[in-house]
Symmetry: C2
Subunit: 425 residues, 2 copies
């Protein structure tokens, strides 16, 4: 049995996503296709433009059999944390045989070589890394420079390619492979070339436009152009959600939510939040006091060594009060449950199999999450109770905030996670 796993955000689902999905299924000859999808917040540190249930529904309508949620605490991390969470979900499901991901280069040998160094941490690599860190470089930069230098010495990879790794989707590819190593998983992986626009491309490119450019079109209500760039059923679900006042949701809608919170925090409060190293606590604290808009805030915080995505993610951590202790644990132990957002009739069969083998509880009725914790199967479930509860609480809170951003006040019930039933197609 071939079970394909894909890692997606579908924010929103567009023609490029459909193409990639179909290619992947064909490549594997998949009997089942499982998507692990970001919930209501994405890796860019932004709320998703339409909510996770609708995005799951769209995926199911386009050939995915089961959509499970990537917990908030992984979905909003950098490539390393994101991949560790996503691969963790697929690995812990227990039945996934193959992961396919898009990559600029689709050069599997390259991805493996880099991932191996990161995973095995050869002595010489550690030595170079240590020197770079001592020079005062941030960890991501020290790591990149150490990799470049290591491969220059080794001569097994073109160091120039390593240098550019972060600018492309290749960094995610490396992290997927590394995560597979970390879990000791026997899932096979396959990189396929991305098509169409780069995912950060802001310009409309017709049929194959990026999700970024499509969100921009939605913002401008240029729905005729959106229609060109997304499959039909994705389009009408987006329109349905907009019509019912649950979409679109934009990061800018969080302006006063973020700024008021940050202005009321003390500098020491930032110090206690995950990821606030390199003077970011002071930068956040100072900038919040002065900035009148979100744009001004991120511009004020920005320095060469921080990307905007990283700043936006840190803003979420500060808003949600994410502490290093729990996040470090999450990044060590991986996902503690598998939350099902939706499935097809075929997907139902898969889930009934998976429920017997999964390494963590599979949750289809979120209101009973505490029961799931009481009914663990000691034989195969490996769950840390406090991590489970925290991780789940963060998903619930993410929905609490996301629903508050719905345009129609009548739709803003924050308990959507408990009241909205799993999507069955």
């Amino acid at each position: 049995m071939k079970v394909l796993g894909v890692v997606v955000e579908y924010n929103p689902f567009h023609n490029g996503h459909l193409y990639h999905l179909e290619k992947a299924k064909e490549l594997i000859g998949a009997d089942f296709t499982i998507a692990v999808m970001s919930g209501n917040f994405t890796q860019r540190g932004e709320p998703a433009i339409i909510d996770k249930f609708s995005r799951a529904e769209i995926a199911l309508r386009h050939g995915v059999d089961v959509v499970v949620e990537l917990p908030f605490v992984y979905a909003t991390q950098d490539a390393g944390g994101f991949a560790f969470g996503a691969v963790g979900v697929l690995h812990k499901l227990g039945l996934v045989t193959d992961i396919v991901f898009g990559s600029e280069s689709a050069d599997e040998e390259f991805l493996i070589k880099v991932a191996k160094v990161l995973h095995e941490q050869p002595w010489r690599y550690q030595e170079i890394l240590h020197v770079k860190l001592k020079k005062g470089l941030s960890f991501p930069n020290a790591r990149k420079e150490a990799l470049v230098e290591y491969f220059r010495e080794e001569g097994t990879l073109n160091p120039e390619r390593v240098k550019n790794i972060e600018r492309s989707n290749d960094i995610l590819g490396v992290e997927y492979v590394r995560a597979i190593f970390r879990y000791g998983s026997d899932i096979r992986f396959h990189a396929i070339k991305r098509v169409g626009a780069s995912y950060t491309d802001e310009h409309f490119r017709g049929r194959f436009s990026s999700a970024t450019s499509i969100r921009k079109l939605v913002r401008e209500r240029a729905m005729e152009l959106v229609k060109e760039a997304v499959p039909e059923e994705s389009f009408w679900i987006i329109e349905r959600e907009m019509g019912e006042g649950r979409a679109p949701v934009f990061w800018e809608d969080m302006e006063r939510v973020f700024l008021a919170r940050f202005r009321l925090m003390n500098r020491e409060d930032f110090e206690e939040i995950y990821g606030f190293t390199e003077g970011l606590d002071k930068r956040f604290w100072d900038s919040a006091k002065r900035a009148g808009t979100l744009r001004e805030f991120v511009e004020a915080v920005k320095a060469k060594r921080f990307t905007f995505s990283r700043i936006r993610r840190l803003m979420l951590y500060a808003l949600f009060g994410i502490k290093p202790g729990m996040m470090d644990k999450a990044n060590k132990l991986g996902p503690q449950y598998i939350r099902v957002l939706g499935f097809t009739e075929k997907g139902r069969k898969f889930l009934s199999m998976a429920k017997r083998v999964a390494k963590v509880p599979i949750i289809t009725t979120p209101s009973l999450y505490k029961k799931a914790l009481e009914e663990l199967d000691e034989e195969r479930h490996e769950v840390d109770d406090s991590l489970f509860l925290w991780m789940f609480d963060m998903d619930i809170k993410a929905t609490m905030v996301h629903t508050l951003l719905f345009p129609d006040p009548g739709q803003r019930d924050g308990e959507r996670d408990f009241k909205k039933r799993v999507i069955v197609l």
Copy 2:
């Protein structure tokens, strides 16, 4: 030397305020008039419609010599805490001889009798109060019923009048008198009859309209009507602030600020906030999850025994993270500094005298507030350092949040308290 002290909100300054101010000055034959004024948030638990500097300027233009700020932690309390803070500021200034306040009844004998019972806590009153509390009544209700019963037994006051005390401004009058007793102050007090509309009246009543109705008119941009209800110079300053994008500010602008914060808080977090008794923690927690608007939220929290003002004040405490320990200390020790918002040439003379006798530091340059703490005069300053710092920090944070609500993003610098100079007329 006669120094008149008045306690005001001026949100905004209207014809009734002017009438009251002039009456009070005449009554006392005041050499100087000092107003202690709420800062950027008011006793209704709302942000002031225009900021404290502009409101201070208006007061100075209408015959007040010095405007000092009632610290946020008192300005946003019920009648007891509000009066204790306000009288505390005037008392600690050291030179105020007379306080004049408006009251429905202006029956000083009545106010004194009630205040005396509250202050002296006669044995019989305590006994009745104890029974009422045991019956499960909230403290304010138990207190009211105990007063009614106590005076019925005593026969010295009409118990029916005591029953209605909270519905009128008389409760504030009682609390002013009681605060004077508590400080052991020799300030004389005078109650004068209020004129015009009740301060909660929502309807426009022409020349003597309530502040509530005037704010409503500003909201509707019915500026021609506003013009009728406020003195000329109050009007043009309101218009100036609106023109410059710093006004008007409304409670409704805090919708997502409040709801997002509350949705991200846990029930136990509410339990740690000042004033969350009587199941209010659960009511807040439940309501925040479901409410899509502020109006829905307060309606959901509301029960017969809570007023909307009390709910809005509690919302501020939760947002600002006000803990019982500090608030109780504030309600025991009184204001720890006197922050000057503005003064006239005449007021300058008063301040130079007051600086030599005040019981707490007088702060005219807020950026130097830490210096004020270092340069205390041990002879006469009675200051609790940690209370001073906390109280001051809350004023600064109140401004941080208030400025964020300014319509023009370019005006939202949160450090207005440090950058805007004291108003000198």
